[in-house]
Each structure stands twice: as structure tokens, then as C-alpha cells.
Symmetry: C2
Subunit: 379 residues, 2 copies
């Protein structure tokens, strides 16, 4: 259903959005609603590339439900009037299914996606920003960085990670060699791997610094999703061989001939004859633009209240890496609420009418107090 | 966790809410936020009684997810700061699990629920309303009818229904006698029964006037939920013996000795040796107060823009039977958006400050244009 992408993007654009994932496409939709001219999405790979690489059995942990028409947006929708649940008639989409939703959104919203375009760097030029790419320089008034937060497996979380394999690099759990597996990391992707391996008949030992599976926090960002809790409980009730170790702070992995040892800080260790599976998350692609942002004491990019660089005017960030006062906006339903904030900032500078954004305010898709989350009272 | 209910309610109350289901409890919470004094919930049976009676394998079709803290209310929550998904760590709750959520809500919100109190009728008395009950008359300034919409199986949808059994009267699909079952009705409860029977090893024939399972409507009220679509597709892929007949307008059921015949309008019929299962929905309990409402041409109660009777001032309705211009508010996430509207109407008449309702507006829990649903653009 996707329109053929232009083989080459314009040399000069008004707004360049980097990345055709949910953040880039959702952002593109807001700019289209504002009727901002000259918007192009530059994508290095393909629409929804990181979802395309998900293990085949992996599903969204946030459920989709087609309630948009009733004022409650599908948790995984990138706009208040679209719904992956409705488009796919499934509640927990696979990566491939989500890609088809994103492709349809690009088509229906009439967005321009140019790919494959690889950005190698950017520099200010007067009041513009020049993007250096594999097809030459592209000049933009505004750049919105929405790229590739889940493309790079974090393989530096533990010394000796080179002796393991990242969970995202396994397409089929049953393909993993041997009958036993040691998993490092116990949040969503570690649990997904543990359940997947167990269902494929393997004995699983999962190591994590804390027992997140027992967490009672209200924040979905630090506790297991209901889907994963349910799947885990079902697997344990079926006596699947999953051992959960919730006090193992893994500090080192070493290979000794035929075996690999996974060491915890307290001296305990676990051995495996294949390679430990690292569910240690991802590092973002933003290293390319790191020097255009100040950093906070945790190393995160400091952003203005409109998610703009404090160093380079016109450079914005959207997506799961955006943080305000340390709070990540990890899920689609969180970071999508910032698209309209960025759209408003750009529209105002261009002297463009922002009344189309009233629809976003009315639909809870305009969050201008990103750090003021109401955790209190939630049960 | 529930506080002991008062054995008898006060003889005089400010606001009487009839029914301690999601509508009554959610409404009670709004009145508590408004600090309206003298509110009592009168319940004939027990908190969440109709959920208590669900078949043990039946689940909510709307998924729960604890996203309230991020401005997106759990679809099955009765308030913007509570979440059955969080409380139960499950996504699709059973009836019993939902009851425990409701009981906890009553407890945490400090609501007064008096039960068992059976209302037999009501009458105006000056500017008050007198409720006639099994424990004597109770006088209220305002009455909010939030009662028992799913307590009464609709057994009059088809002539001869007495030869069948209503789907809600079956607690365990495997208990149903025989190896074959004919189901009349193909929406959510009919499909739930079909899948449940098939999983219990029975051959299923499901009859419905239209093939809702092929519907492409965006309105969750007239198309199958993603959960049900998924379950149905999984059952069909596993070659479960489910035959779906999408053009059978059932007009009559008759018993002929050992067999029961289910007749369609076009002359076809289906036979069964046990009794057909009727998934024909429910009739509400509002017949008791029918004469206090005007009716529209479809027989539904006519309500003011504040969901009040046009005949008896001070008598309001909340819950899934509320309709405006024919549109039902069937799901919790729909009808809960009207609680604040009713609360505002009552607060204004009592001269009570309504600013606590701003929080409801900000959280998409205040829908004062009930008939203006935005179906356009939803996919």
C-alpha cells in the first residue's frame, strides 16, 4: 500500500524528520495537520525497520484496542484517528504487523518518506541546518531527530558481552543451540526470551539485579506489563523450567574453553555451554548528534520545554529517548503526546496558525508538562 | 478489603445511587471528588453482582493496561486514577477479578454501599424523590439510576426461547450436555460461547442474522473485539468444529419430542437434541422506572443533556443503557465519561463548587457531547 518513495529527497527542505518509525511518522502527521509545507522524512533503512527485526513470536506488550472513535486512543497508535488494532484485528501486534500499520499510515496521511538515506552528521549554516548524507547535503530549516532508538543492541552493559548474544539477534527461540540458556536481564525482553525459550523446550535461568517480576510499582516503565505477568504466571503454572534469580547483579562474563561463566557481584556464577543471552536493552543512534546537546548528570540530552537542543536552534528530538527531569517517555502512548508540542514550536516560528492543535489537546495528545506525571492515586 | 456495609441506609439522603456496579461506583467517586455530602449507594445484591455471575472462562473483551499514570485511563477503570490491570496484574479480567477491583475501589474511595436493598418503585414528594424499598422508604434529593443492566437475560428475543438456555446461565461450557450445540446470536457473547464450547470438545453451529465476524466497521459496539477475532481465528486455524452461519435470521424455536428445531425466516432450520444456547443479550432493570421517562421512537429513555428524566426532575441515569440520538454507551470507557456531566448538574443545583471536575476534563473523562462521536478517519 505504500507509495513508491522518492529515490532522492529534495536538496532543500523546510523540515527534515530523521527516521520513519512511530516517532517520525507520528511527527509527520502533526506537521501535515498544521499544513506545514516542505516536510520530508529521511529513513536509513525502511519504514519501521526495528520492528521488522523483532523475533517472530515477540508481540507488543501494550494492548491495542480500537477505541479511538470514542475518544480513547489505541495505546500503540501514532495518531488519535488511527488504530493498529482496527487495521490488523489483533490486540498484541507482532513487529511485522506493526510495520504494515506504519506503512498504511504513511500512505493514508500522504507523507513523504525518502529512503535509504544515511545521515553521517549535521552542521548549522546560517539559520539552517545542513544534513550530510550518502546522497549529498540536504539543507533544512528544522531537523527533528526521531531515529533508530532500538536499532543498536546494547552490548557494552557487561564486560565480556562479546561472549554472549543479544536477545534481539535471535529470530526463533527454537533455533538457539542446546537445551539450557542463561539470560542476563529480567525486564520485558528478558522475560519474553525466557518464556519463548521455555516454550521451545529449553531450561532457562534468568539473572537480574532485582526481582522486577515481583514489583508493585504503578509505572509500566519499571514493572512488568500485565501481558508478560500473565504469560510468566501461565508458564510457571505449567511447570516450565524457568528459574528466576532476582538478586544477581551480573558484573562479568568470561569464556573458559568450552564453557562460559556469568559472574555476579557477590561471587556467585552460572555456567553455560553455549552463550548467555543478553537482554540488556538498546543504545540509541543519537551518538551522531551528541555534541549538539548539553548532557544532564545522567548523560541524557538536555532539552528545552519544546524538546529542542539548547545548543543548536532548530534541532528537535522526539521518541523514546526524550527525557525531562530524568523521566523517560518509553512507550508510544507517552512520547506521541510530545509531537504536537514540537509541531507548535515550529509552526509558531513559521507564523503558521496552530488552531489545528486544539484537536490534539482535546484528545489528550498534547502534553506540555512532560515531567509532571500523576503517579499518585494510581493503583 | 471491603468495609462492612451499613445494615440499613439512612432514611433521608442527599443523593441515592441505585446499583453498586461500575456505573454506580464510578458515579459515587465523582460525587466524592465534588465533596457532595449525604451520598449512599443502594445495592440489591452485592458489589459487581452481574460480573460475579459470568461464566468462569469469560473475560473482558476490552484490555486493561496500567497507563493511567501517563494520562491514558485503563479502558475498564471506573476512575482516571485506578486500574484493574494494575490491581490484578492481568489484561483481560474475569468477572470475579473485576468484582475484587470494584470492592477495592469502594474501600479506597470511602464510598457508602448499603445492601441488600431492593427498590420496588419511586415517587416524587415535593422537590424530593421517595424510594420504596424492602427496608422502608428512603427520601433523596437526587436519584441516580445505575442499576443492573446485565442482570436479566433477554429470553423474549425469539418465540420459543423457553426451549433454550441463555448463554449467561452456563457457568462451565464443559457442563453442557451432548456433543453438539446450536447457538443463536453471533456477537461477543455468542462467540465467547462458541469458542468455549469448541474448546470443551463440542461441535458448534452458530446462527446470526449477519456475519458480524466479517464486519469492517470502526465502531467496537457493532464489530468483534480484537481479542475475540484473535480467539476465533485461532480456533478456526486449529480446525475446531465451529460453523458460522451469517445469514440466519432466527424467528422461532420449537420442541418436537426429543429434538428442538431452530427456524430461520427463509425456511431453513437446524436441529439439536439438547437445547439451543441463546446469546441474545440482556434486558435492563429500568422497567421499574419506565413511566418516569419519555421514550424515543426506538423505545429508549429520552434524557436531557445532563442525562436527567424530562418528566421527573432529579432522576438521572448512568451506565450502558444511556443513549443520545440512538447511540448506546455500551462499554465502561464510554459511559464513565458521563459521570462528571451528571455530577456537575447536581453540584450546580446544590451551589457546590465544580472546579474538581477540571481534572476530569483534562483526563478525557468529561464528555458533554455524547452524540458527537468522531467516527471519521478512524481506521
Amino acid at each position: 500500500m505504500t507509495r513508491p518513495a522518492p529515490s532522492f529527497p529534495p536538496k532543500k527542505v523546510n523540515v527534515a524528520i530523521i527516521g520513519a518509525g512511530p516517532a517520525g511518522i507520528g511527527m509527520g502527521r502533526v506537521l501535515r495537520d498544521l499544513a506545514i509545507p516542505g516536510v520530508t522524512i529521511l529513513e536509513r533503512n525502511r519504514i519501521g525497520a526495528s520492528f521488522h527485526l523483532w523475533p517472530t513470536t515477540t508481540r507488543f506488550i501494550t494492548p491495542s484496542f480500537p477505541s479511538n472513535a470514542f475518544g480513547l486512543t489505541d495505546l500503540n497508535a501514532i495518531s488519535f484517528d488511527s488504530s493498529p488494532a482496527y487495521a490488523l484485528k489483533r490486540e498484541h501486534l507482532s513487529g511485522a504487523e506493526y510495520v504494515s500499520y506504519l506503512e498504511e499510515a504513511v500512505d493514508v496521511f500522504g507523507l513523504d518518506v525518502a529512503s535509504p538515506i544515511n545521515i553521517t552528521g549535521l552542521d548549522p549554516e546560517g539559520t539552517d541546518i545542513v544534513l550530510h548524507t550518502n546522497v549529498g547535503d540536504i539543507t533544512a530549516h528544522f531537523v527533528i531527530w526521531a531515529a533508530g532508538q532500538f536499532q543498536y543492541p546494547n552490548l557494552s552493559a557487561v564486560p565480556g558481552s562479546e561472549h554472549g548474544i543479544h536477545s534481539s539477534q535471535i529470530r526463533l527461540w527454537s533455533d538457539y543451540p542446546g537445551d539450557e540458556v542463561v539470560i542476563v536481564g529480567g525486564y520485558e525482553s528478558g522475560m519474553d526470551a525466557a518464556i519463548g525459550f521455555a516454550n521451545a523446550g529449553k531450561k532457562v535461568t534468568l539473572l537480574n539485579r532485582s526481582a522486577v517480576w515481583e514489583s508493585d510499582d504503578t509505572n509500566p516503565g519499571v514493572t512488568l506489563s500485565p501481558l508478560t505477568s500473565q504469560r510468566l504466571n501461565a508458564a510457571l503454572q505449567q511447570k516450565q523450567p524457568i528459574e528466576l534469580i532476582g538478586d544477581a547483579h551480573v558484573v562479568r562474563i568470561e569464556r573458559l574453553g568450552e564453557i562460559v561463566k556469568v559472574h555476579a557481584a557477590d561471587g556467585r556464577f552460572w555456567t553455560t555451554r553455549t552463550f548467555p543471552v543478553l537482554a540488556t536493552g538498546f543504545t540509541g543512534s543519537a551518538s551522531l548528534i551528541d555534541h549538539w546537546f548539553e548532557r544532564d548528570d545522567q548523560g541524557h540530552h538536555v532539552l528545552t520545554d519544546q524538546d529542542e537542543s539548547t545548543i543548536l536552534s532548530g534541532l528537535f528530538r522526539v521518541g523514546p529517548e526524550v527525557r525531562h527531569k530524568g523521566s523517560p517517555l518509553a512507550f508510544i502512548y507517552e512520547f506521541r503526546q510530545r509531537f504536537a508540542v514540537v509541531g507548535e514550536a515550529i509552526a509558531k516560528r513559521l507564523g503558521i496558525d496552530t488552531t489545528p492543535l486544539n484537536a490534539y489537546r482535546a484528545r489528550n495528545m498534547f502534553r506540555d508538562d512532560p515531567a509532571c506525571k500523576n503517579h499518585e492515586g494510581s493503583r
